[in-house]
């Protein structure tokens, strides 16, 4: 984006993004070159790597970034309770001790559930600072009545969710009705109140890289605290090229407004190596601030298990097995 220099604001602290009025030119001037984006991703993996204790530290950090998630039709209070227990104590304490991290009070970034599971999660996480994130607004399709969607957000906030993961109306993106998207997300933001708004773009359904970039910008203008790639239910979920585009939009929004917006890739991030690649991407494109849970989250369910095995491998020097780590 090119001629937005005049709009730059400077903020002294990490204030929450209040959103901005709708600026059509911020959307229109976006240019994305897919081949160049893909080339950047293809070469980045070989430009940066972390080894030995650096890798261990980064993997521990990755755990702190996980929105430990269960979003299944057969979720039960017991299942959610188990998940929350894992969120509180994600790594075996003997392993943490050997890493010199026993006092770090390591937890996952959040627990992510459907609305009906919020009370059980709240109970299981009592006494911790782990936020509950609730998927909302007719997740995953987002096609229930608007009134219902707004009511759903309010109900989840009332039930104790501190983060609301909404899904945008993909049809507004596909038909380039950017103002409608802005209005929708702004309404969600209002409904969230103090709870943080994470907007899921469902990037696998948006048709082009440019549309993904534009949708990102509109959501941030409308007051999103986080932009998130996917529900995890689309045919294609988080990818690194898409993540690069969204991160660059975050950088651009910061240049324009001074506000830092969080990023959450979700779906398909199931092993330690992939998580590290996303973290490298965030460090390179956005900086170290985006390696903390207030600005980066992984929407993942099986990632933690792989990280635990890698950590044990680092400590013992031999490959670990799943059954050696407590399940969530």
């Amino acid at each position: 984006m090119n001629n937005m220099g005049a709009e730059i604001h400077h903020l002294a602290s990490n204030q929450r993004n209040p959103g901005t009025p709708y600026h059509p030119e911020w959307v229109e001037e976006i240019r994305i070159n897919r081949s160049a984006i893909e080339r950047r991703i293809a070469t980045l993996a070989s430009r940066r790597t972390v080894k030995k204790q650096w890798q261990a530290a980064w993997l521990l950090k990755a755990i702190a970034l996980i929105d430990l998630t269960t979003l299944s039709g057969d979720d039960t209070p017991g299942r959610v309770q188990r998940l929350c227990a894992k969120a509180r104590q994600p790594v075996r304490s003997d392993l943490l001790a050997q890493l010199g991290m026993e006092k770090a009070n390591l937890t996952t970034g959040a627990v992510c559930v459907y609305h009906e599971m919020i009370p059980y999660a709240a109970k299981a996480l009592d006494g911790t600072n782990i936020p509950i994130a609730a998927v909302s607004t007719g997740f995953p399709a987002g096609l229930s009545p608007l009134k219902t969607r707004l009511a759903e957000i309010r109900a989840s906030v009332d039930a104790g969710a501190r983060e609301i993961d909404i899904v945008i109306s993909r049809r507004f993106v596909l038909t380039a009705n950017w103002k409608a998207l802005y209005d929708e997300v702004a309404a969600y933001r209002e409904a969230c109140g103090e709870a943080h708004l994470k907007t899921i773009l469902a990037t696998g359904q948006l048709g082009s890289m440019t549309k993904i970039a534009k949708a990102s910008m509109v959501c941030m203008m409308a007051g999103a605290d986080f932009i998130k790639t996917s529900t995890g239910m689309e045919a294609v979920n988080a990818t690194q090229p898409v993540s690069l585009i969204m991160m660059r939009m975050i950088r651009e929004y910061m240049r324009l407004t001074g506000f830092k917006i969080g990023f959450k890739p979700a779906g398909g991030i199931s092993n330690a190596k992939t998580a590290l690649q996303y973290m490298v991407l965030a460090k390179e494109e956005l900086g170290n601030d985006w390696l903390e849970p207030d600005l980066l989250r992984f929407g993942a369910s099986s990632l933690l298990g792989d990280i635990e095995r890698q950590l044990e491998h680092f400590i013992t020097g031999h490959y670990s097995a799943a059954n050696r780590h407590p399940m969530g």
Binding site: M1, N2, N3, G5, R31, I32, N33, R34, S35, A36, I37, E38, R39, R40, T43, S46, R47, R48, T49, V50, K51, K52, Q53, W54, A56, A57, W58, L60, K61, L99, G100, M101, A104, S208, M209, T210, R248, R251, K283, E284, G287, N288, L291
Partner: protein, 794 residues
């Protein structure tokens, strides 16, 4: 550093590649590496070695043989003895050897990558991910050419022994670019690696042994400039392929002038990187990283001149600075480095000197505040802003990680700035508007245009430059021709230079022209009096004065080139339109066939039948190039990425043509028609002996709608005119058909702007034979290939 500390600071930490097994190999050659000659390891004679240094730490890696003239002689002899047998193998057999070499490179890829990084100082990331895979790809690709050669290029033969001299910036990759096509075509090679980076070439020699390559097919002689000079001067070398500096390129051109050696030169560059305001700016910045901070900027096609549309100049400079602020520079074997070491302290000093000169001429210097290694030969990524085209840092190739930034106002402005250079190797164009990008691609004078990308290479796409960036292409079908010659190009008949008979007196023959005619030149579509006011008598076959022509001088040539320069639109005409004009010339020549027949008879003494046949052949030849004009078209290459690469055949520009005397009308047409048919403008020097043919011909041009300046005709002394043309920096190409001495002179005199020359070395061509007198050979010499890379995807 503890895990807890890293958990807080989130730094990367070291990630070194294990190089111990490569060091073990080097230790096993502690006594010094020999040359590889005739399939065996040959100690240098006399026994002299020099040190090969690791630029990242200054330590000696190995001792390498210093090649003497005697060593070069031995290598050339071995190559010569092997060549016939190698060429006699079936294409399939040669393909199997090249395939084996490709496989062996892949099997040893990590070893080669580590060795290359140690020897050159470039990052392992680049050798592992770019250099070595591309090298293997070149052998695979050319294994394919060996296989298909007999079917695809049946009229071509190998050259013989090829001398190849490669630079230090891509030692192994350049070796593959040189050796693979040469062997595929049936040549044998003597390769001299750069003195700073001999090791991967020596390792490759071992792979040749392992592949069972016949002895003498590949010979590696290590050494410095004098070793290279011995190779260039060797009489049994049929071709020199050189990649390196423009200065050395010039020297090689001068040395080989008149030797008949074929020559390809891949030289320097100062390639523009053009960013329009509708580009994906973040991606363009990443493109710059690939363009100028690839291999520490020690890349001939580095995008070293950023040209950015004025409205986004500040934005992109800010983005570049942000990007460089977390650049990582250091141990080339660390897997997380953006830049490694500069090749040697001399090169580093040369980079710094040009940067300091640029600053003293007003450039604003910016370098990021990043950690630099305490030891070794390193230079930080550098940005020079506030520069104009007159700044030395903008004009000269720096061959280091230094980017200059200038802004432009419009597409035309961008074209003018991009082309304001003596070089013309590569360019990048960034815009999301395909119309703008392709318009720009068409107008840039460079052998390669990367749209929305930079430094993309593939064996299927020819690589090579315009202007002083050299000539010839490497890769693709276009690259194969550089290692082949037409099987019957030597077809000769008569003499190229015919001397006038003894003059029989000063009596003018009035039998032909009843009214005395004032001899003139033809410049810019108008008849022009000779600048010097002098004339030369042209004798007929009996020695009588058949007429007079202007005696051209330097200024006549200058005026003709100026007239050609003023009509740049000819190349932009449609091929169909150029064809129509060639047919129209034929039509008008046909109308005056009788007159030209009589003139030929009077001048040459040819029989009526013979003279009429020459006129008829001339008309046919014009038809041939009218036919070719819209058929000699380009190709679409398919490199292994989501991309098309358009290989466009472009005219060379302004050309000079010096005609021989045999078949004076037919040779004039045979040389003019392919040149203008492909969109060049030309200054024709007609046969000196029969110059009246040229002056008769301009009235044909005048009636044929040939735009002013496209064809200019200057009469005069052949070699005098040729010399002025050869030295003229605005002339891009020169064809010379005259004496062997003249041919050598032309090539020697061409070095100032390294114009493309095509000379006859004193032999006469049979102009009547359509195999040697017309066709693709002529068209190829009149054009150069521009590869436009177009990645796509939305």
């Amino acid at each position: 550093m503890s895990v807890a500390e890293i958990f807080e600071n989130m730094e990367y930490g070291p990630a070194p590649e294990d190089a111990s097994y490569v060091h073990d190999w080097l230790k096993s050659h502690k006594a010094g590496f020999s040359h590889f000659i005739g399939g065996a390891w040959a100690k240098p004679s006399p026994k002299a070695y020099f040190d090969d240094i690791n630029p990242a730490n200054g330590k000696v890696l190995a001792k390498v043989a210093a090649g003497s003239k005697r060593d070069v002689d031995a290598a050339v002899l071995a190559a010569k003895e092997a060549q016939k047998g190698w060429a006699a193998l079936s294409g399939h057999k040669r393909a199997k050897y090249l395939y084996a070499l490709a496989r062996l490179i892949q099997k040893n890829s990590r070893f080669i990558a580590v060795l290359e990084s140690l020897d050159n100082g470039k990052t392992l990331r680049e050798t592992r991910d770019i250099d070595i895979p591309l090298a293997a790809r070149h052998f695979y690709y050319h294994a394919g050419w060996a296989q298909l050669l007999d079917q695809e290029l049946p009229d071509y033969a190998p050259l013989g022994v090829v001398g190849q001299i490669i630079p230090w910036n891509f030692p192994f990759l350049m070796l593959s670019w040189k050796i693979a096509p040469a062997l595929a075509a049936g040549n044998t090679v003597v390769l001299k690696p750069a003195e700073f980076t001999s090791l991967t070439a020596l390792f490759f020699a071992g792979l040749c042994e392992e592949a069972g390559l016949p002895a003498g097919v590949v010979n590696i002689v290590t050494g410095a400039g004098d070793t290279g000079a011995a190779l260039v001067e060797h009489a049994d070398v049929a071709k020199i392929a050189f990649t390196g500096s423009t200065d050395v390129g010039r020297l090689i051109r001068a040395t080989t002038a008149g030797s008949g050696k074929k020559l390809t030169l891949e030289l320097g560059g100062k390639s523009p990187f053009i960013v329009f305001e509708d580009a994906d700016l973040d991606s363009a910045v990443e493109g710059l990283v690939d363009a100028i901070w690839f291999n520490q900027g020690q890349v001939c096609c580095a995008g070293s001149r950023l040209l950015v549309e004025e409205g986004v100049a500040d934005t992109i400079i800010a983005k570049i600075k942000e990007r460089l602020s977390h650049f990582r520079i250091g141990d080339p074997l660390d897997k997380a480095m953006d830049m490694g070491a500069i090749i040697n302290p001399t090169q580093r000093a040369s980079i710094d000197k040009l940067v300091q000169q640029g600053v003293s001429e007003g450039a604003e210097l910016w370098q990021p505040d990043v950690k630099m290694p305490a030891k070794g030969c390193f230079y930080p990524p550098t940005l020079l802003t506030n520069v104009s085209p007159s700044n030395i840092a903008v004009r000269e190739e720096i061959f280091g990680p230094v980017l200059t930034v200038m802004s432009f106002r419009s597409l035309d402005d961008a074209v003018a700035l991009a082309n304001n250079s003596r070089y013309g190797l590569a360019s990048s164009v960034w815009s999301e508007n395909i119309n703008r990008a392709l318009e720009m691609a068409a107008q840039i004078k460079a052998g390669i245009v990367w749209v929305n990308s930079a430094n993309q290479f593939d064996a299927a796409c020819g690589f090579g430059g315009y202007r002083e960036s050299g000539f010839g292409r490497e890769g693709g079908r276009e690259g194969m021709f550089e290692y082949l010659k037409p099987k019957n190009d030597g077809s000769t008949k008569g003499e190229a230079v015919i001397l006038a008979p003894e003059a029989t007196g000063t009596v003018e023959s009035v039998g032909f022209a009843a009214i005395d005619r004032t001899p003139k030149m033809y410049v810019g579509g108008k008849q022009a009096r000779p600048d010097g006011g002098n004339t030369m008598a042209i004798l007929n076959h009996k020695g009588e004065i058949a007429g007079r022509v202007g005696a051209g001088n330097r200024k006549d040539i200058r005026n003709a080139v100026e007239a050609a320069f003023k009509n740049p639109c000819w190349a932009g005409r449609t091929a169909n339109n150029r064809a129509q004009i060639l047919y129209y010339i034929a039509e008008n020549l046909s109308v005056r066939a009788g007159e030209f027949t009589d003139r030929l008879r009077d001048l040459t003494g040819a029989s009526k039948t013979k003279a009429a046949a020459e006129v008829e052949a001339s008309i046919s030849r014009l038809f041939s190039y009218g036919a070719w004009a819209d058929k000699y078209d380009g190709q679409v290459h398919t490199p292994p990425v989501r991309n098309v690469a358009l290989a466009v055949k472009e005219p060379i520009g302004i050309m000079g043509t010096v005609c021989p005397d045999n078949a004076p009308l037919l040779n004039f047409i045979s040389l003019m028609a392919p040149i203008i048919g492909t969109g060049n403008r030309v200054v024709m020097i007609p046969s000196e002996r029969y110059a009246l043919i040229g002056t008769d011909f301009y009235s044909v041009l005048e009636t044929s709608d040939v735009p002013a300046g496209v064809v200019n005709i200057i009469t005069g002394k052949r070699d005098e005119m040729a010399k002025v043309l050869a030295e003229h920096d605005q002339v891009d190409g020169l064809w010379y058909h005259g004496s062997a001495k003249g041919a050598a002179m032309v090539q020697r005199a061409s070095i100032s702007n390294l114009k493309r020359t095509w000379v006859n070395d004193g032999t006469a061509r049979d102009w009547f034979d359509t195999k040697t007198g017309e066709g693709r050979r002529f068209l190829r010499e009149a054009t150069q290939v521009k590869n436009i890379w177009l990645p796509y995807g939305d």
